[in-house]
Subunit: 319 residues, 2 copies
């Protein structure tokens, strides 16, 4: 398989997005994939700075992710959590011993004044990752999930309450004062990417935080590189995570069309291509009516082959 | 062995002091031992609030201390440190997985606004300790070791540089603004202790920080309870830690007499009794000349029996 020689920018949240990022990393020449990662679910927990989506990308792209759990590191041990449990400490956010080392290291580096992009680069290098992972910004942006009558910090909603509360909306504290990742902005200004991909991540809590950083989505829209979105909704279901449940609760049609409408309304002119799954082919005309080119492919990624095939499909589509 | 029914206050640093604290805990009725612990070597490391002396007391008094290493917890595992080593993180301060749970829990509690005394109490209860462990103050007091031409944070001197730099003095940042532990002060005001013991801890970096908190040593001096100091120097050597090396470098005689002089100069009228080891009996007259009653006993504590015997000796001495 011939490697794609030009640079690709992929916007990604956690698990779902990281699958396609891995496919893209396999499909391009070493170092040509840049991932712009959501940090809107970063939080401080037990004194540590935790960046869940960055870590999922780090662990996935280095081949170290835990395939059994679907999150965290393979071969993980749980000594600290077991001891913390005995102390009746907070163990709802499961931190493996190896994973904890990442958080301790990151927290120490940040405390010494090293920036989050630099820390992320160093971690990627230590893990042998040739792709670049860029945090969407350096500032702390905190996603709040609005539910009926109460607001929840994202990880409380997502992990502690297992996405059970009914959502009514989201807000991203600190986003107005955040600056888009400087390296990515410089590359965009320099026409450094041949393709921009929005991975099949949650539109509301993974991609919206990235796009809503000041100047971000308009810069992506104005880039010469075509932008391809892969639908996170397939046959009315989310492959991973609460996207479908959120759409239902927000009164958005739980279909790839609903996803397309979300993006076209909030970010007019951003999408060039919309990749939907074969099973959703009947939605093509309605999506095309929004002014977006529709492409149809198998989008469910179970094997590494699936990931590579979808990545090649996207790169061929715009090539 | 009949338990001593009255309350005892013991001032202690880490390992050496904790040995006698354990002996005292065995000798008194449950709940009657109060330990006033040095927190001058507390520090933030990898984002965590670490209280080395409190933890040594917690682990020793709960019978969970690591007898092989001489610090930390028995049956410890090192998953996080191994992973942190791979990330080329700071591993000079060895944090076991179980020990880390303590630090994570403490850090989280402090972040929620729980005070250090409350956190320490809760940890003691979770570990099944009937004695009370009181941090000397709630504020962060940071010991700096002055060496020739440079200043070192205490743990850098003590752990990272293995006490190798030659010391010229010490300072305790934040101590002028610290308040002595309120529970201990209330008990002292109420004549709540029958005996006050200064454990055989390092005079310079374990006991001085406690005594130099505003109002602390004068309140102890003015208490009706007799105060007994156990010499940390035996036959010109420190049983544990750098006390002897420090005395040598500071030009203080490396003997129990040197220790007595240190206390009598800095805290006149504080000491009532000074317990020295049998091997130092020849120093009795010189120490007595400082206006302190001298008592002679075997002070080297290897077994649990040794610890209990020394504790009984002290309690009988003033009883």
């Amino acid at each position: 398989m011939k490697a794609f020689q030009e640079s690709v920018l992929a916007l990604s949240g956690g698990v779902g997005g990281a699958k396609l990022a891995l496919g893209l990393a396999d499909a391009v020449a070493p170092g040509q994939l840049h991932v712009l990662a959501n940090t809107g679910d970063d939080f401080r927990h037990l004194g540590l700075h935790i960046s869940p989506d960055i870590d999922t990308l780090l662990y996935t792209l280095s081949g170290k992710s835990n395939q059994v759990l679907g999150w965290g590191l393979a071969g993980e041990t749980w000594g600290v959590m077991e001891a913390l449990e005995k102390l009746q400490g907070e163990t709802w956010f499961r931190l493996g011993d190896n994973d904890l080392a990442t958080h301790l290291w990151r927290t120490a580096q940040l405390a010494e004044g090293v920036s989050l992009p630099q820390v992320t680069n160093a971690l990627a290098q230590q893990l042998g990752i040739s792709s670049r992972i860029h945090p969407m910004c350096e500032e702390l942006v905190s996603t709040t999930v609005h539910s009926e009558g109460r607001d929840l910090p994202f990880q409380h909603y997502f992990v502690r309450e297992q996405c059970e509360p009914k959502v009514t909306g989201f807000s991203f504290e600190g986003i107005a004062d955040a600056s888009p990742n400087a390296d990515v902005m410089a590359l965009l200004a320099d026409d450094g990417f041949s393709t921009i991909v929005i991975c099949p991540s949650n539109p509301f809590v993974s991609i919206d935080p990235i796009l809503q950083i000041p100047r971000m989505w308009t810069t992506l829209r104005d880039s010469k590189a075509p932008l391809v979105l892969v639908s996170p909704i397939v046959s009315g279901m989310a492959i991973k995570g609460p996207a479908a449940k959120m759409m239902l609760e927000l009164g958005v049609p739980v279909t790839a069309l609903g996803v397309a409408q979300h993006y076209c309304e909030l970010y007019p002119g951003l999408l060039d291509y919309f990749v939907i799954d074969e099973s959703d082919a009947t939605l093509s005309n309605d999506i095309a009516a929004l002014g977006v080119k529709v492409a149809i492919a198998p989008t469910v990624m179970k094997t590494r082959d699936d990931k590579q095939r979808l990545a090649r499909f996207i790169l061929d589509l715009v090539g």
